[in-house]
């Protein structure tokens, strides 16, 4: 066991635990945000840098501070470690910078994005960003493509967290057909040629995607998520454990997802049949309403990024502007 101090709070965790998971044991607002790490996915983390924290003391044995901020999601704790997150100006400042970096090439079309309301990037920007952007250059864009009949990829929104790649690797057991192609800011999720993901569990890439890059093409009526009501349900499924969340509008099941915890992580993969084909209440045994804690945006009904200010709106893609005119953003809450 290792004892660490995180934002002044002591916690004892098994050796090898990452700083992030130690913080999650404490819980609450001191937990660093995570955009790429995903507990069930081996190898994930370290990429987005949203979770950077300051190690003020490395360990009891070597109490020197670490020279750079570290990614809390991939850095293991040491006994006697002292970590600063919300108590460090530097960390908060750097995090603002990370938000800015993640947004400079982002389309900012939340008003027409399926993910709005349950988007980690939206939350992240809302909670940690600043409300202006200094970016004046042209934004990177990609065409949206279908990955098979059930999943759509809006590469423009992708933050290259690699979660979907690790997911495919793990669920498809070596039969992965999609991955990251290209490099640098030209890298993209792709299947290269018209390969489709036709694995029984491929739909899980939708659940792990922190943004609206991978979306469910069967999501009926394209409702704003905060108009939908999440309900936990299960069924006897020959392929998966059958534990899901149903998202209702009135009497209609609009979509089916895996059950996510407060950090947006699904604990069990669900199969494509449960996700895409079982959209009647009669298919399911209902357990009761699902609690959505951490997604502040769902609960607060915000769906505009704080950066959606005048100077940025001018930059919105034409298609978005047209959509906006047709469907002016609702002011809620």
């Amino acid at each position: 066991m290792a004892k660490i101090t995180f934002d002044g709070i002591e916690v004892e965790v098994p050796d090898g635990t990452t700083i992030l998971n130690a913080a999650r044991q404490i819980g609450g607002s001191i937990v660093p945000p995570a955009m790429c790490y995903y507990t069930p996915l081996k190898g994930s983390g370290g990429k987005c840098r949203a979770c950077l924290v300051r190690v003020a003391a490395g360990s009891t044995k070597d109490p020197r501070p670490m020279p750079k901020l570290v990614a809390s999601c991939v850095t293991p704790v040491q006994d006697g470690m002292v970590v600063e997150n919300t108590t460090s100006e530097q960390v908060l400042d750097v995090r603002k910078g990370i938000v800015e970096m993640l947004l400079i090439n982002h389309p900012l079309d939340c008003p027409v994005c399926d993910q709005a309301g349950e988007c980690d990037l939206q939350n992240f920007a809302f909670e940690h960003g600043v409300s202006t952007t200094r970016y004046q250059e042209e934004r990177r864009t990609f065409e949206k493509i279908d990955i098979g009949p059930l999943i759509q990829l809006h590469m423009t929104r992708c933050i290259l967290c690699y979660r979907c790649v690790y997911t495919a690797d793990q669920i498809a057991k070596g039969d992965r057909v999609h991955g990251v192609l290209g490099r640098g800011d030209a890298a993209e999720i792709g299947t290269y040629i018209e390969n489709i993901i036709d694995n029984d569990f491929s739909g899980n890439v939708i659940d792990v995607c922190p943004v609206g890059a991978l979306t469910d093409k069967t999501f009926r009526f394209k409702q704003r998520v905060w108009f939908t009501k999440p309900v936990n349900a299960h069924r006897d499924c020959p392929k998966c454990a059958g534990n899901v969340t149903l998202w209702y509008k009135g009497q209609d099941v609009l979509r089916v997802t895996g059950r996510k915890d407060q950090y947006g992580e699904v604990k069990e993969w669900i199969c494509n049949e449960c996700r895409f084909d079982k959209k009647e209440t009669a298919d399911w045994t209902i357990e009761g309403p699902a609690h959505i804690d951490r997604s502040s945006v769902i609960s607060a009904n915000h769906y505009e990024l704080p950066v959606l200010n005048q100077s940025v709106i001018a930059d919105l893609p034409e298609s978005t502007q047209r959509d906006l005119e047709k469907n002016p953003p609702l002011k809620l809450g």
Binding site: G174, G179, L181, G182, R183, G190, Y192, N195
Partner: protein, 189 residues
């Protein structure tokens, strides 16, 4: 000329070379041979690696095609589109720029009719590709064509000598494991 529907095949010499290379890594780590095998494939099939060629590479190494695509698109040496007979890789980085690489690029565009990072010359001979530092900065400006470095191309005469040298090549130069070089057009489709 081969068409895309015909499955490409490595020559016997290339197959032997691939097996030699694969033995350099632990048996369960054949994937390590991916980059060297891609180089062989590019040399064998006309200077670029088509999706079909990449699938073949996946097959001989025993990995998934996506694992090849991920890699071939990451490394800049692999051409993913058809190229001219000779790909001139012009270094554009600082030290070469200080010694005239911009002028060299413009000059090459003018006399070959090819567009840098774009269209091949109308005669199909030259593709111009800008690359980053080739580790020959003291001999700038530099052009690489396959395994050969042409250095100090700072006069029209030096450039002409390079182009003449290339125009006179009927076959690409043989690689160590081959008897003769393959005609470059062989696998272009």
């Amino acid at each position: 000329m081969e068409t895309t529907s015909v499955k490409p095949q490595f020559s016997e010499a290339a197959k032997a070379e691939i097996e030699r290379i694969c033995k350099q890594y632990p048996t369960e780590r054949r994937k390590s041979a991916l980059l060297p095998v891609l180089h062989i494939a590019q040399a064998e099939f006309g200077g670029w690696v088509s999706p079909e060629v990449q699938d073949l590479v996946a097959e001989v190494i025993g990995i998934k095609p996506i694992e090849v695509y991920e890699v071939s698109s990451f490394y800049t040496m692999f051409n993913l589109k058809p190229v001219g007979k000779h790909v001139l890789e012009i270094c554009r980085t600082g030290p070469c720029m200080l010694r005239g690489s911009d002028e060299l690029t413009a000059h090459l565009e003018r006399i070959t009719g090819a567009k840098v990072n774009g269209a091949t010359s109308p005669d199909g001979l030259f593709t111009l590709k800008e690359v980053e530092c080739l580790a020959a900065c003291g001999f700038a400006p530099i052009v690489q064509v396959r395994e050969k470095y042409y250095e100090q191309l700072d006069t029209p005469a030096a450039v002409d000598a390079m182009l003449t040298d290339l125009r006179n090549q009927v076959h690409r130069p043989a690689l160590p494991w081959e008897e003769t070089g393959l005609p470059n057009a062989l696998a272009n489709n």
